[in-house]
């Protein structure tokens, strides 16, 4: 007796990842990638979540890169044939979460690496979160859209609206038709990073200090010892941590 071929639908296995690589998209420079990364590390630290750090910013060699704030960060040069293999090296040491801060212009290397290595990484339980920073500068949006074009659905997206001015106009992100299409297709989670007073930001950058150090009065820098600076640092941390808590699914396992 002839029987119709049954249509078998394979169940979709939604297994939890066993590792996660969280990286800033290394496109446009000066959008606050490292400033955000340092706060992200502080957020993980507040939760006592074990993680490893990779500083892939080869432009800011001495001051202002992730390793300047966290000397424990592994300094890696992305501009080489092995691309982002440092992701794998660090994971191989056992850290379940890796935070990588990329420098500007890392696109092509990252592109090639994802094309050749992503499938292997995915089958080994590694999830990726790509962080894009939007500022009032339209070039920051173009950079995110360009990265999205090659990363596609291989990563989950976190967009950070970084208020680099006060008030900050994000019209280039909110009203742009291409950005709207990206939001519809990629469904990124969006959080806000509030405007930070430049004097505090500059002093912290100059001395390689985290907000935690300022908030806990662990600095001798006069401008950062002021009670107003301490309170601001505490408020910046509290507000951004609340935003990160909203999207913790993209940052944990």
């Amino acid at each position: 007796m002839a029987t119709a071929n049954p249509v078998v639908e394979m169940p979709v296995h939604q297994t939890k990842p066993t590792s996660r690589i969280v990286f800033t998209q290394g496109g446009k420079g000066g959008v606050g990638k490292t400033a955000f990364s340092t706060l992200l590390v502080e957020w993980y630290a507040s939760k006592k979540a074990p993680l490893a750090l990779i500083d892939m910013d080869s432009e800011n060699k001495t001051r202002g890169s992730l390793a300047h704030f966290f000397p424990e960060a592994r300094k890696a040069n992305i501009q080489r044939a092995r691309g982002l293999d440092d992701f794998v090296h660090v994971l191989d040491e056992g850290a379940p979460i890796v935070v990588a801060d990329m420098g500007a212009g890392a696109g092509e290397v990252a592109h090639r690496w994802f094309d050749s290595m992503h499938e292997q990484a995915n089958s080994n339980g590694i999830a990726f979160t790509a962080i894009g920073l939007v500022t009032p500068d339209p070039a920051s949006v173009s950079s995110i859209l360009a990265w999205g074009k090659f990363l596609q659905a291989r990563v989950e997206y976190l967009i950070v609206k970084n208020s680099m001015s006060d008030p900050a106009d994000f019209g280039c992100w909110e009203n742009d038709s291409e950005a709207e299409a990206f939001r519809r297709v990629a469904q990124p989670k969006v959080i806000s990073m509030e405007y930070r007073i430049p004097e505090i930001e500059q002093e912290m950058r100059e001395h390689g200090l985290t907000l935690q150090a300022v908030a806990e009065r662990k600095t001798d820098v006069p401008a950062l010892k002021l009670t107003a600076s301490v309170w601001r640092a505490q408020a910046y941390r509290r507000n951004l941590f609340a935003e990160l808590d909203r999207v913790k699914g993209l940052l944990l396992l």
Binding site: K48, A49, P50, L253
Partner: protein
């Protein structure tokens, strides 16, 4: 104490740990503080540490160890290494984790990813200065 007694005291072998859970004391107590059930901890100990233990001995162990301990007159014997679920140093480099340590860390990170009940924000006060107002007689 005279010399002979001192020699006997010094040569006596140290006692074995009273419970085979003793090496995992810190781990077990942390899991309890995280709110894990005794049955789940039994399962974790079996899967992650190779310790097969049932509910009741685990319960008694936790109850006993949760009480404040009396200060010991003798220096503490160094505890064996246990898998680190909350390492002291958050940012590490160059330290290779064992499979057990890594599994404990993954478990811990997943425990952070539990959904939390979001607090409902209090309704804010809104006022439109241009809106005509109506006066009600009380």
């Amino acid at each position: 104490m005279n010399e002979e007694l001192q020699q006997i005291f010094d040569s006596a072998p140290e006692d074995e740990p009273k419970s085979r859970l003793e090496p995992y004391r810190e781990l077990v107590l942390r899991w309890r503080r995280q709110g894990r059930s005794y049955r789940r901890i039994c399962q974790l100990l079996r899967d992650k540490c190779g310790v097969d233990i049932t509910y009741l001995p685990l319960y008694e162990f936790v109850q006993r160890r949760s009480r404040p301990r009396k200060p010991k007159p003798e220096p503490e014997v160094e505890q064996p290494q246990i898998p680190a679920s909350e390492p002291e140093s958050v940012v590490r480099q160059g330290k290779k984790l064992t499979a057990e340590e890594r599994a404990a860390q993954v478990e811990f990170i997943r425990s952070l990813n539990q959904p939390t009940s979001e607090e409902q924000p209090k309704p804010g006060w809104d006022f439109d200065v241009d809106k005509p107002r109506t006066i009600q007689k009380l």
